[in-house]
Amino acid sequence: MKIIVLVKHVPDAQFDRHLTGEANTVDRSESILSELDEYALEAALQLIEARGGEAAGNKVIALSMGPAGAVNAVKKSLQIGATEGVHLSDEALAGSDAAATSLALAAAIRHLGADTPADLILTGMASTDGETSLVPAQLAERLGLPQVTFAASLELDGGKLTARRDGDTHADTIEAELPAVVSVTDQINDPRYPNFKGIMAAKKKTITTLSLADIGVDPAHVGTSGSWTVVETAEARPPRTAGTIITDDGDAGIQLVEFLAAQKLL
């Protein structure tokens, strides 16, 4: 089977993150493979391993769209175990919103499936920078495929997939026919780390770079010109500062209530 996993190179959330430039886009200088995409990658690897792995003709293609640095997310995916890497990179993509991103990714997925269409497109539940969760659903709409989002478990039986999804008021079992677009949560598995063998093996794997011309997308349909939303203003929120800290000497519960009363929160 052929699985395409979407991986994004995002600013490391452990550090302060910034918006830059006129279009208020995210500064990507200190970036890493989005940790939520590691769950999608792990899910893909488990699926192909259960089917005899690469030796049996199965493939996991890690696909990342982004500027030059985004190739690092692809490299990391290869170290973790993806079989091939694809980097979709084009100046014209800068500043793409979810609609423009899903347009470019849908074209890339069609391009990669020209000979054998992918059986499954796997993504994380959200990017850790944009945090919109829009892209998987928009991709499914553009590709005319069923979407199964926020999967907390995933099983394949022939051409049918079954997933569990945990909502607020109910937990659902979902079924869809392949091919499908599936986003997975951080509940689905424990992602593996790249080991020495994986890092060495990754050096021999191919990374294909694709431009918009390669996938037949008009540059006017992506980037800031092709986006359907604009960020007009952005203001950094003043960081929170520590307030009063007390050590419990036996009456902290009462002091807490006094604080709440003073704040009119009771």
Binding site: D97, D168, T169, T173, T229, T233, T244, G250, L265
Partner: protein, 317 residues
């Protein structure tokens, strides 16, 4: 003047507060109509009239809940066409955002999520990067789709009630073709506490509760609060995953967030740092949660919380 279509999915017996908020914001933008999926009970219909809906669009099929998202987006796209709406508003839940996502592609419309306020000209306000920036954004397309966070506005009925007429919207023939099906649904028992995403006060526990959410539940009940949790607590199985606050759980913005036995990892902070007031109770004075707490108590939650609960009960008589 804009025409705004508010999506109300399964209104239930009465409209949820978040639906009333959407209708209130919609009226500030222009003529308001509603698209309703699911059974419409009398009380919900009365609320739609009281909140000024000029018309109700309902789908020609009753089984949209048997599928994931796709057919609901198809219904809404048809409702937008029928109503001639310029703005669509939906809930900011996971499902609300996905419906908005697919609807955006169907209509060629820009989608803005996590909205907390909308200006009369359609400019949306939201915060990004885990609450570290506040931004304004706008759709550049003729139709815009907004998902609005609950607790963004105080709901207000319209000056005069309407008598909305119901219009059936024909679903396109292929609406369910490429959709995943919901084959089983397990309802979770209701806690009787406020909904976490909408609650004014949240009492959240982490690994420090050591399997015992009892003292948190008692404090929550004294305060009329919802219960939240860190991932360590949900992963341990002490409480359901739907209680998780954070990057991969819920984002909450209550008036008051009481964090007990939670260290305050970056992924936890991502879900709660826009709370108005943060209180932290933690044994370890070095915990990062104290960096953002308005009132921090270095102490044992099993001592501090029951004492606070008793004091609140005493004061309330």
């Amino acid at each position: 003047m804009a025409k705004v279509l508010v999506f109300i999915d399964n209104p239930g017996q009465a409209l949820k507060k978040s639906s009333l908020e959407l209708l209130t914001i919609a009226r500030s933008l222009g003529e308001t109509v509603a698209a309703v999926n699911g059974e419409l009970h009398d009380a919900a219909a009365a609320a739609l009239a009281a909140y000024g809906a000029e018309a109700l669009y309902v789908p020609s099929a009753a089984d949209l809940d048997a599928y994931l998202v796709g057919p609901k987006a198809a219904f809404l796209a048809a409702a937008v066409d029928a109503a001639g709406a310029d703005v669509v508003m939906a809930e900011n839940s996971a499902e609300g955002k996905e419906i908005a996502a697919r609807l955006g592609i169907r209509l060629g419309a820009g989608v803005i999520t996590d909205v907390v306020a909308v200006d009369a000209d359609g400019t949306a306000h939201k915060s990004v990067l885990a609450g570290s920036y506040t931004t304004t954004a706008k759709a550049t397309t003729p139709v815009s789709v907004l998902t609005v966070k609950s607790n963004s506005i105080t709901p207000e009925p319209a000056a005069s009630a309407t008598a909305p007429e119901s219009v059936t919207v024909q679903l396109p023939a292929d609406a369910t073709a490429a959709s995943a099906r919901v084959t089983a649904r397990n309802e979770k028992p209701a806690s009787g506490r406020p909904d976490l995403a909408e609650a004014r006060i949240v009492v959240a526990g982490g690994r420090g509760v050591d399997g015992n959410f009892g003292p948190l539940e008692e404090l929550a009940d004294a305060l009329g609060a919802a219960i939240g949790a860190s991932r360590a607590a949900t992963d341990a199985g002490w409480i359901g995953h739907d209680a998780q606050v954070g990057q991969t759980g819920k984002t909450v913005s209550p008036q008051l967030y009481i964090s007990a036995g939670i260290s305050g990892a970056i992924q936890q902070k991502a879900g709660m740092q826009t709370a108005k007031v943060i209180v932290a109770v933690n044994k370890d004075a070095e915990s990062p949660i104290f960096e953002i707490a308005d009132f921090g108590i270095v102490g044992d939650l099993f001592q501090v919380l029951p004492q606070a609960t008793a004091e609140i009960k005493k004061r309330k008589g």
